[in-house]
């Protein structure tokens, strides 16, 4: 083994010498090496992978994609790999919400990556990519949410007059979540039209609740290491969801909605306000959408503490501890998150994590006369830099979420009071924490 690595160092040196001589890039740096990777699949993620052959050509390595699945499937697969001790791959797709679960599977990237590679990415995003003070992920794009609305509703004079008469303030795109509630109830006309909607199950509703909790000034964990979401702030946060549901201002099916349903629902023109990520922006304003040309976008509203909601995660890449060629892996993830890669993803509407890539997408869109994309990236760029925060960095986030979300649903559909639901969830969550400790 040692001989082999020595040999490869010699080869490497030779290769470097050759490239220096040729004055070209590091061609052949990893000649003959096969890098095994597990990547997230799906229409939004795959255009980036068309760049992989470029990296192969530049380095001489081959990339073998062992699996290409959606993130929930990939998460299960990685857990199985850990359980069976079969980590025979180097690079895996990762996500902020999932990363803390994997323990020591992934290495601290700040050790193997150049400082300027890490530094090129928004600091706020890098902070969220840390687990236990280790940078385990290199983010490729981010999924912070902002508020879309149907513009014409706010321009309608009749609406303006009626709203002012009823609520005593001017009808404007909402600045706070309380205003969202007022306006959603005002616009709702079930079953044909709804004021707003929210994802209502799995980690989706847990995360939405969490960001509302933060915006209300609450915290998820207390100082004693136990959960603290069953606070007055938590109850206020949960009441927002409950009130809208009771007022029928959201579709009755929301407890079963994920991001699919909210995105498609908004595009069908039957919802006034919709908090969603940037990935939908192009679709909302395309010919496939009923509201083409009528879509407005503002920063996510504030809670009563004056803080904006900004639950976000990043899709990212990680390198395994078991990787036999961390250099090649580092070169690979660097390549897939570099300026050109992020520009490619940005053009499809995904939010780059590099400020310079965002600026470039905005520049490009402006030159092409695409005012919508300019607006989208300016809004999302600002919220990524200022509002974004990730879920608490603990391996228990997903298990706690699994205890929390059924209770949130119980409150939303009126089976429990918000306080009772949160108390029950807190008890179950604290049990998990106890078992872990």
């Amino acid at each position: 083994m040692r001989l082999l690595s020595k040999l490869s160092t010699v080869l490497l040196a030779g290769a470097t010498a050759v490239t220096m001589f040729a004055g070209a890039s590091s061609a052949g740096e990893f000649d003959g090496y096969t890098l095994k990777v597990k990547l997230i699949g799906g229409a939004q993620y795959e255009p980036l992978y068309t760049r992989i052959p470029e990296w192969e050509a530049a380095t001489g390595a081959k990339v073998e994609i062992l699996s290409r699945k959606n993130h929930f499937e990939l998460d299960r697969e990685i857990k199985q790999d850990i359980a069976s001790g079969s980590i025979n791959w180097c690079v895996g797709s990762n996500h902020t919400s999932f990363a803390p679960q994997y323990g020591s599977l992934y290495i601290d990237l700040s050790v193997v990556l150049d400082e300027d590679v890490v530094g090129a990415i928004s600091e706020n995003v890098n902070n969220s990519s840390m687990v236990d003070g280790r940078l385990v992920q290199l983010a490729r794009h981010s999924d912070v949410s902002n508020l879309y609305y149907i513009k014409s509703l706010y321009e309608d004079e009749q609406n303006k007059a009626d709203f002012k008469a009823e609520y005593g303030y001017d009808l404007m795109p909402p600045e706070t979540w309380d205003q969202v509630k007022d306006q959603a109830i005002f616009f709702a006309d079930p079953p044909n039209f709804y004021g707003t909607q929210y994802v209502g199950k799995d980690e989706g509703i847990s995360g939405r609740f969490y960001e509302m909790l933060v915006a209300e000034g609450g915290t998820f964990f207390g100082t004693d290491g136990k959960v603290a979401f069953n606070s007055p702030e938590g109850v206020r946060a949960l009441e927002w969801f409950v009130d809208l549901y009771e007022a029928k201002a959201v579709p009755a099916g929301v407890p079963n909605y994920l991001w699919d349903e909210t995105g498609l629902g908004f595009a069908s023109g039957t919802v006034a306000l919709n908090l969603d990520w940037g990935g939908w922006a192009t679709f909302f304003n395309s010919a496939d959408s009923k509201i083409q040309g009528d879509v407005g976008l503002i920063r996510a509203p504030k809670g009563s503490s004056g803080k904006r909601t900004g639950w976000s995660g990043s899709h990212s890449f990680s390198i395994t501890e078991a990787c036999d060629n961390k250099k090649a892996a580092a070169s690979f993830v660097t390549f897939l998150t570099n300026f050109d890669s992020q520009l490619l993803e940005g053009r499809t509407g995904l939010l780059p994590t590099r400020p310079d890539a965002i600026a470039a997408v905005i520049e490009e869109s402006r030159a092409a006369g695409n005012d919508w994309l300019v607006e989208v990236f300016e809004t999302y760029g600002a919220s990524m830099a200022e509002d974004a925060f990730a879920v608490p960095s603990t391996p228990l986030w997903i298990p706690i979420s699994n205890e929390l979300f059924p209770e949130l649903q119980a409150a939303i559909v009126g089976e429990k009071t918000p306080q009772q639901a949160l108390d029950d969830a807190a008890a179950a969550a604290n049990q998990l924490i106890e078992d872990e400790g």
């Binding site: 799906g42 299960r76 990520w277």
Partner: protein
């Protein structure tokens, strides 16, 4: 009412019932040929305005689509895994069914019940332990690994059906052949096996459909185009935030058609096989 009107009425009633049964499935297949916005429009568009092969082009990566789904590889895996595991399950089933039908031996009833009960274990309880064992043996993401699981899944039921079928054939036939100088094997192969064909065919179609459509275990034990089957391939259409329902419907069409053709072809045997197979001990 004359017999003829009665027949016509019962035909019409049956036809309507069948229509209701097939409706949800037909809607899926039709959706495979429609653009996504039209399927999920509100109010619904009942009469398709535009039929298109775009969803299929997208799957196969023809024209200016994004990334193709490796559907040919999935199809190849599905065919290999489903047919091989069915064939093995049938052979093992004939062997076991014949033992139960023709021999008396110790622990016969216990063995029989044990085999049946092995099938009651929910896949979800098996998936992780099987995974860990398979990982140690290097069988993850191989066709072989999945074939083995499917054989075990199907064997109890094939044994049962085929057992019932052999009981149905009078012992005297084989005995007469042996008196005429055939070996036991020849008697089985020339006399009993041909008579049991229909039963074996019906056990086969059940086994095939189970393997062809199985998802829970396959999604755990497969990883890549080496072994991923068509039902697992369906999840390629689900990303974190979106589901490509139109693409999924098109894929559904690709999964269903071979199974449907096969079922139609073995129709005759299926009914005949089940008639005598399971019941007449």
């Amino acid at each position: 009412m004359s017999t003829q009107t009665k027949a016509i009425i019962s035909w019409i009633v049956t036809f309507i019932v069948m229509l209701i049964i097939t409706m949800p499935g037909l809607w899926v297949i039709l959706s495979g040929f429609r653009p996504l916005q039209e399927i999920l429009a509100k109010p619904a568009i009942w009469i398709p305005q535009r039929l298109t092969l775009d969803n299929f082009y997208a799957i196969f990566g023809i024209g200016e689509t994004q990334i193709a789904i490796p559907v040919l590889a999935y199809f190849r895996n599905s065919i290999i895994i489903a047919t091989t595991s069915t064939a093995i399950a049938i052979i093992v089933g004939i062997s076991g069914g014949y033992a139960f039908a023709r021999y008396r031996f110790k622990f016969k009833d216990t063995l029989f019940l044990g085999l049946m009960l092995s099938r009651t274990v929910p896949g979800i309880a098996l998936s992780l332990p099987v995974f860990i064992v398979w990982a140690r043996l290097g069988w993850i993401d191989t066709q072989f690994g999945l074939i083995l699981v499917y054989v075990a899944l199907n064997v109890p039921f094939t044994i049962w059906l085929i057992d019932g079928f052999f009981r149905q054939i009078p012992k005297e036939l084989a005995e007469a052949a042996e008196v005429d100088g055939c070996t036991r094997w020849q008697a089985f192969w020339k006399i009993e096996f041909p008579l049991a064909k229909s039963g074996i065919a019906s056990a086969g179609i059940f086994a095939f459909l189970t393997s062809w459509n199985e998802f829970a275990l396959a999604s755990n034990l497969t990883r890549s185009t080496n072994s991923k089957t068509l039902p697992v391939g369906l999840t390629d259409f689900i990303a974190q935030f979106t589901t490509d329902w139109a693409g999924m419907c098109a894929m559904a069409f690709i999964i269903i058609v071979p199974a449907l053709i096969l079922t139609f072809l073995v129709q005759k045997h299926l009914i005949a096989g089940l008639t005598f197979g399971g019941v007449k001990g």
